[in-house]
């Protein structure tokens, strides 16, 4: 799953070196538009919808992994 996130973040923003603890805003200096584009890529990949107001709570890479696991997506 981490590899998938690394690929999506790189494709959308060009940023590399993602770990489980990476914070999208604080560590990668992404803005709200970048974060939304990353989430949109997850939605497309898993054919699911992540409500915009829930995106606020996804700060770190591990938050995304936990969120997806909660929705039943554990494999890339």
């Amino acid at each position: 799953m981490l590899q998938l996130i690394q690929d999506i973040v790189y494709n959308v923003t060009g940023k590399q070196g993602i770990t489980y603890e990476t914070d999208f805003v604080q560590d990668l200096a992404l803005n709200s538009f970048d974060v939304m584009n990353i989430i949109s890529a997850f939605e497309d990949h898993f054919d699911t919808t992540i409500p915009t107001r829930e995106v606020w709570h996804l700060h770190q890479v591990k938050d995304v992994i936990d969120y997806l696991a909660h929705k039943g997506f554990t494999q890339p």
Binding site: Q26, S32, F33, H59
Partner: protein
């Protein structure tokens, strides 16, 4: 696409004084033309013509009036961008009621507080905001909620479709014209930017909004297909993008979710876009990322330099590579109107070389909102354009002050703040600037203490400081926007904290920072992304203060 006009006389549009006149005018003038389109999740395009749009407005208005909506009532809209948002808004303002445009990017509690402070008793809600606002119905703060788009499964909410149906049957039996409204009737209540309930409620009259639209049409020409992902609850998105597009009879493509903004931009194939610097930069970054991945970044940079030289020497900029790049990254887009925050000159120039005209404008909610804008035929990069014809603009000790028919009526239920903001009809913007010999306005900074982001959002540092001060370990705190990134206006929110020495006794600096970061993370959880504190600094000394013990913001 129409050819780019260079003569003002080529694009005159009608002037209206009130929303009922506006609706009757656009229905009559543009009837069968496409007015509004959007894409579903499955990328299906849905469209309403001007006739269909104005008929839906008439049906909804009739249904509301039939069920007892009285002129002057406040009606709040709490929803993401959607066709129903626009139709509800137009129905409300065309029957002499006041549309309260609620900022949906706020925390749940702030949204409820905004609705209560505005005295709205009727709410239009999207499914997302139904559970957030239903407690208002339970507590009796609002009398009725109407659900837009979707089934609530909750019998307390009425479906908007039933109102359309009711209005349609009433109109079929006995059609009625829109209600007459007075020019000084308040049409919109729009919230100023802020982080908490302290955001002010700006009252804009029917005449103020219409005047602002009509004035801007003298300067800015839109092409046929306009794309807008700006939130409608801000005056920029609503008045400048939505209503201005309808005034001109163009075809508006709307997007209701930042997540699908880029997708919809490509699907819509617009020739005009109204946006904020954040999106322009995102498009630019994506374009360069793709070029770098293809290993062509160096050659493109060289080509850009050659193209810039051609432009400087007034030679035509015609390079096939640049045209191909524009087509790939921007499709048919040829005009971008950018406002809400400062746009770097370098970006404007880069887009210009790609064949996309970038018009920077300047506005503030209290002025409905446009104050100045560059023209298709007279564009000075780096400036925010010419002040609108009916506005007087003066510089008082460098501060931009504005007077004219599109200035607000005041802040709702706040005579004190209104008196401070308006003096003899002059509104003090808090922005510093100057004009050049041709009358173009340039902005140089802000007098008011607001942090402005590239998405046009503004944050009052005092309100974040209030939240942070509640952390027991914090003795003093100052929030500021610190430089972040390639451009001077890239900012990130930084909290400088002087920890309480008593509470920190025996703790290492690392432990203090770790504790504070955990507390800040908790606060961030309830804030939209752009309002989150991104950096925490610890100070070893107290802040320098004024005689009244206020922290000196610029001396620390």
């Amino acid at each position: 696409m129409k050819t780019r006009p260079y003569n003002k006389a080529d694009y005159t549009v009608p002037f209206y004084d009130t929303f009922p006149e506006f609706l009757a005018g656009i229905a009559k003038t543009y009837g069968p033309r496409p007015a509004l389109s959007w894409f579903t999740r499955r990328q299906e395009e849905k469209t309403l013509t001007y006739l269909e749009l104005t008929q839906k407005v008439a049906h909804l208005r009739r249904g509301l009036l039939h069920q007892g909506l009285e002129a002057g009532s406040h009606v709040a809209i709490v929803s993401e961008n959607s066709a129903d948002w626009i139709i509800s808004f137009l129905a409300v303002v065309s029957c002499g009621c006041v549309a309260v445009c609620v900022d949906t990017e706020q925390a749940d509690s702030i949204i409820r507080e905004m609705v209560c402070r505005s005295d709205a008793h009727l709410l239009f809600l999207s499914p997302t905001f139904l559970p957030i606002c239903l407690p208002l119905l339970d507590s009796g703060s609002v009398e009725r909620v109407i659900l837009m788009g979707g089934q609530s499964g909750d019998e307390r909410a009425d479906a908007i479709d039933s109102l359309y149906k009711l209005g349609r049957s009433l109109e079929a039996d006995d059609p009625q014209p829109p209600c007459p409204v007075a020019l000084d009737q308040t049409a919109e209540i729009v919230f100023t930017s802020g982080t908490t309930s302290q955001s002010k409620m700006v009252m804009l009259s029917q005449k103020a909004v219409m005047q602002n639209l009509c004035d801007s049409s003298l300067y800015v020409y839109f092409y046929d297909r306009v794309f807008c992902s700006l939130p409608f609850y801000h005056a920029y998105g609503l008045n400048c993008a939505v209503l201005n597009t309808f005034l001109r009879g163009a075809h508006l493509y709307i997007n209701g979710d930042l997540k699908t903004a880029m997708r919809d931009l490509h699907l819509a194939k617009p020739d005009t876009m109204l946006t904020v610097p954040l999106m322009v930069e995102a498009i630019n970054n994506q374009m360069w990322l793709n070029v770098e991945k293809a290993g062509k970044a160096d050659s493109l940079r060289t080509l850009m330099k050659v193209a810039a030289l051609c432009r400087k020497l007034h030679l035509p900029v015609k390079f096939k590579t640049l045209e191909q790049l524009r087509e790939k990254a921007l499709g048919t887009l040829h005009l971008i109107i950018c406002g809400g925050a400062h746009l770097s000159r370098e970006l404007s120039e880069e887009f210009d070389l790609l064949g996309v005209q970038m018009l920077q404008g300047y506005g503030i909610t209290e002025c409905a909102p446009l104050i100045s804008v560059n023209c298709n035929y007279a564009n000075k990069m780096g400036s925010v354009g010419l002040p609108l014809k009916t506005l007087e603009v003066q510089l008082d000790d460098g501060e931009v002050c504005v007077r004219g028919p599109s200035v607000m009526q005041g802040y709702y239920k706040d005579p004190l703040q209104t008196a401070q903001a308006l003096e003899d009809g002059w509104f003090r913007t808090g922005d510093l600037g100057y004009t050049d010999k041709d009358g173009f306005l340039y902005l140089t900074g802000r007098k008011k203490n607001l942090i402005v982001f590239k998405n046009g959002k503004k944050v009052s540092p005092e309100k974040l400081e209030e939240l942070l001060s509640a952390i027991p370990m914090v003795k003093e705190v100052m929030v500021s926007g610190t430089a972040n990134g390639a451009f001077a206006d890239d900012v990130k929110l930084t909290a400088s904290i002087y920890p309480d020495p008593q509470r920190c006794e025996g703790l290492s600096s690392y432990e203090i920072l770790e504790h504070l970061q955990q507390e800040v993370d908790k606060i961030n959880r309830d804030l939209p992304t752009y309002q989150q504190i991104q950096l925490v600094n610890i100070r070893e000394k107290e802040f320098n203060k004024t005689g009244t013990k206020k922290i000196k913001r610029h001396a620390n």
